[in-house]
């Protein structure tokens, strides 16, 4: 829980990639245009040292934050007038064949930070290596299921030459998919599709990406220095194709592990922004002058899940009772101090479906209605009756597994214990685990009910809803499986018409709650960012991948 919490916070931090706080030693000359010639530097932070800048080997959000600014993905998701638009980036244009199985990208004229031309082969190499089993990349799951022969290559059943990725010529990249994938474009800015310079990566071998000198990028900024566990400095990449629209000259990343130190640094102006989920700090920064507060919903869910192979939770009515017994409003208020919002859905807010925009604005929350119509206690009694467990809920004891041992987890556990006692009359036994132990227990089915967080991997409802198909069931190991659900997801995965696809997702989500209830959504996460007002033009949406490309400073 805590790891996921930190992970989510970081993810928020990184994706927006905006940090603030200046050490006052920023840029030298005036900016390139914006801000009336004042120094264009931005002071941001990372909560942990990035693992590596090798996009194939690294898998943490910290390195993602650096990569998004130093690499040029095929496309970027950019905010324009409050709307997210998929903008041509590394690819100048793209098209697909009629059935959406072959995608052709025209690679833009761009240069690597060392001056070499960017070619289609660089993108092809990055995508291929991520799936090459010899590279052992933890990111292969992003694309393995989509690119032709992807899974086979990862499993070692096909050679990398058979993969549906090829550089037709220097400027043309062709990707063949296993099946039509309507949301394929939303994978083009994930790290699994980043370019990698083969000659450079091979020259440095295992050490590629481990130091500033062992890395080459083709994005808006390049790495000037990297002092491990201390700071990373980026400067504008003059070789970048769109350099004239990049305003910042310098980005300073301070690596600060300690939360209080982050807040103190922001408070004293050494950082230009910070993200906090603590009421105390939110209240403090709310009073600070010259600071903007930005609250944004992030596509991340906190939830409980049930082991349907457990005797008690094998019963649908019992699961439903547990799902409906949660007073989400109260939980959001009492436990999360209104830092997150109550969730009556599985696909979180801030997930969009192509041009139709936010999915949750199109589809009503499946649990909202059920919560009003049905009574949790009655369902429990009905379920107990079906299981032959009598009619006394106080004889039932459920083990509730948590993935943290912190004080926060303990308070949370006690709250849950109290609430289930009050509403259903059942006893909850708390089981606190370190993350790895938790993972092992839940994966091997040695649990009844457990608590976790999940965030999307790419911007489409599919990223969340497909976690419950029989094929993907190891992700959240509830043991639930439903043919109708599988069929709907399968169909949605190929449906090129967006409105129809949304409808299929919505039907699947209904089934998940009507017939599954193996999952109990609790809150939809939000992030609370404080940023000095002199930082301009920051993309606020969590899913944006513009990085710091368009940010500038005015009136510091």
């Amino acid at each position: 829980m805590k790891r996921k919490l930190i992970a989510s916070l970081l993810m928020a931090t990184m994706t927006l990639s905006l940090a603030a706080c200046g050490k006052g030693d920023g840029g030298s000359s005036g900016g390139s245009g914006a801000g009336g010639g004042e120094e264009q530097y931005y002071n941001t932070y990372l909560q942990t040292e990035p693992s590596t800048l090798d996009s194939i080997k690294g898998n943490d959000n910290y390195s993602r934050g650096i990569l998004i600014n130093t690499m040029e993905p095929l496309t970027r998701l950019v905010e324009k007038d409050g709307e997210q638009v998929r903008e041509a980036a590394g690819a100048e244009s793209w098209e697909s064949n009629e059935d959406g199985t072959v995608w052709t990208f025209k690679i833009r004229d761009n240069k690597w930070s060392d001056g070499q031309e960017v070619t289609a082969a660089d993108y092809a190499y990055g995508i291929t290596q991520t799936l090459n089993p010899d590279a052992g990349s933890p990111n292969s799951f992003f694309t393995a299921g989509f690119i032709k022969n992807g899974s086979k290559v990862v499993n070692g059943e096909a050679s990398v030459e058979e993969l549906g990725v090829k550089a037709v010529d220097d400027k043309t990249l062709e990707i063949t998919l296993e099946a039509p994938t309507p949301y394929f474009m939303s994978l083009t800015d994930t790290r699994a599709c980043y370019p990698v310079r083969q000659d450079f990566a091979e020259q440095y071998g295992e050490t590629y990406g481990s130091e500033a000198e062992n890395f080459v990028g083709n994005g808006p900024f390049k790495i000037e220095s990297w002092t491990h566990n201390s700071e990373i400095k980026l400067v504008k990449n003059e070789n970048y194709w769109d350099a004239e629209n990049v305003k910042l000259d310098k980005i300073n990343y301070a690596i600060i592990n300690d939360e209080t130190a982050v807040f103190n640094s922001f408070d004293s102006g050494q950082l230009d922004w910070c993200s906090t989920g603590t009421e105390e700090w939110v209240n403090r920064f709310d009073k600070k002058e010259g600071v903007d507060r930005i609250d944004a919903v992030i596509p991340s869910m906190r939830y409980d899940f049930f082991n349907v192979n457990d005797e008690l939770f094998s019963n649908l009515n019992v699961r439903k009772a547990f799902v409906l017994a949660v007073d989400r409003e109260d939980m959001a208020k009492t436990i999360y101090q209104d830092m997150h919002i109550p969730a009556y859905w599985w696909v979180p807010q801030a997930v969009s479906t192509g041009e139709l925009g936010d999915y949750r604005e199109q589809v009503e929350a499946p649990l909202e209605k059920t919560a009003k119509e049905e009574d949790a206690k009655e369902l429990l009694l009905k379920g107990m009756d079906e299981l032959g467990l009598g009619s006394d809920p106080s004889k039932i004891t459920v083990k509730y597994s948590l993935s943290a041992t912190t004080q926060w987890a303990r308070n949370y556990g006690e709250y849950v214990q109290q609430k289930y006692k009050d509403i259903l009359g059942v006893n909850i036994e708390l089981d606190f685990n370190e993350w790895s132990t938790f993972q092992q227990k839940t994966n091997s089915g040695e649990y009844q009910m457990a608590n976790m967080t999940w965030s999307t991997d790419y911007d489409d409802p599919m990223s969340m809803i497909s976690l419950f198909t029989t094929e993907n069931s190891s992700n959240i190991p509830t043991g639930w499986s439903n043919e109708e659900f599988d069929a709907l997801i399968d169909q949605a995965g190929k449906e090129m018409d967006e409105a129809k696809r949304v409808d299929l997702y919505s039907q699947a989500e209904q089934i998940l709650f009507n017939e599954g209830c193996n999952i109990c959504p609790l809150v939809n996460e939000m992030q609370h960012v404080f940023r000095y007002s002199y930082v301009k033009n920051v993309d606020e949406k969590f899913t944006s991948t513009s990085g710091l490309k368009y940010v500038y400073i005015e009136g510091r």
Binding site: R3, A7, K23, E49, S51, T52, D54, K57, G58, N59, D60, P133, D134, A135, G136, S137, P138, S140, F141, A144, S151, V154, N155, Y204, E206, T207, Y208, G209, S210, E211, N214, T227, H228, N229, S230, E231, A254, I255, I256, N257, D258, T260, A261, N264, S265, D267, S268, Q270, E434, W435, S436, T437, Q439, Q440, N443, W454, S474, N475, I476, P477
Partner: protein, 307 residues
């Protein structure tokens, strides 16, 4: 003497061997793997490919043999699993040097101030200087470093804005960490020196010296201090090795890129090579410093010389 040293080195090697072996098997027996920091379940195949790449698919004894072979023949501990491409030995060397800077300065400052305060307290027993010193000592021992560090950071960085909150490279970054790190040392030594001095001052030979008419200054200088300091050297073992291994909390709060970070995080991340590397480093340092102190002891105090 030579025999004593050789024997001790032999013991040291045996100790290290046991520490390495025990740590190696223990760390592989805890659940989880280096992919755990992703906090999600990865597809089985992804995990298998990863294991294969880093040799984690082999059995623990096999991995142990490979590790020991590399360590003994090439002096290599391998690459960090959490930070691919970085040699563990490089990280140990670079980061311990960083830790040693504030750590070393804090130790020297702490020793000097602590000993002086201890002497003052002992010579003024039950008078106001004694009370003040003991008050400081109790504070130093009871106030957790993270509280002290946060308070100082708040005062000097946020309110007065004279020092940076975090960072590394300038002398300004190191001021607060030194104060925080030395506080505990001051407290420990002030108390220890005081009680040792009082102990020595109650001995018959001090009475004899005083009876002979030796001045108070000379009694303290020649007899009390020397005898009171000896036991303090025992404490030094942990402190000296501690300056290289760094303080997790202080380094975290002030953003010092030292070694402390790796001691805690390598375990959480299941960064096996780093866990074993940091353990070897700490263990070797400790036994080595202990040997040095023991030798120094026997040179200074004939009573405990080993035959």
């Amino acid at each position: 003497m030579a025999k004593f040293i050789i024997k001790r080195i032999g013991y040291m090697l045996i100790t290290l061997f046991i520490v390495i072996t025990a740590t190696f098997f223990l760390m592989h027996s805890i659940p989880g793997d280096p992919l755990a920091h992703m906090a999600r379940n990865l597809p089985e195949q992804t995990r298998e490919n990863y294991y294969e790449k880093y040799g984690l698919d082999k059995s623990t004894p096999e991995q142990y043999v490979i590790f020991m072979k590399n360590l003994l023949t090439k002096g290599e501990m391998g690459e960090s699993l959490r930070y691919p491409g970085r040699e563990v030995t490089d990280t140990l060397m670079t980061n311990s040097a960083v830790s040693a800077k504030p750590g070393g300065m804090a130790l020297v400052a702490g020793l000097i101030i602590g000993i002086l305060l201890g002497i003052v307290a002992a010579l003024n027993k039950n008078k106001w200087p004694d009370y003040i010193v003991m008050f400081i000592a109790i504070l130093g021992i009871t106030v957790p470093v993270f509280v002290l560090a946060s308070v100082l950071q708040y005062i000097f960085s946020v309110k007065l804005m004279v020092l940076p909150t975090t960072g590394w490279g300038s002398w300004k970054n190191i001021v607060l960490p030194i104060i925080v790190l030395s506080f505990g040392t001051i407290a420990t030594y002030a108390r220890y020196v005081k009680s040792n001095m009082l102990d020595v001052m109650g001995q018959d030979y001090i009475l004899t010296a005083e009876a002979k008419g030796v001045s108070r200054f000379n009694v303290v200088k020649k007899h009390v201090l020397k005898n009171a300091f000896l036991p303090c050297m025992t404490l030094l073992v942990g402190q000296v090795s501690g300056i290289f291994t760094g303080s997790f909390v202080v380094e975290k709060i002030f953003g010092i890129p030292g070694l402390g970070f790796y001691y805690i995080n390598s375990i959480n991340d299941r960064d096996y090579t780093m866990i074993i590397g940091t353990t070897i480093f700490a263990a070797a340092l400790f036994v080595f410093v202990q040997l040095a102190v023991d030798i120094a002891y026997s040179l200074m105090d004939p009573r405990i010389r080993v035959k």
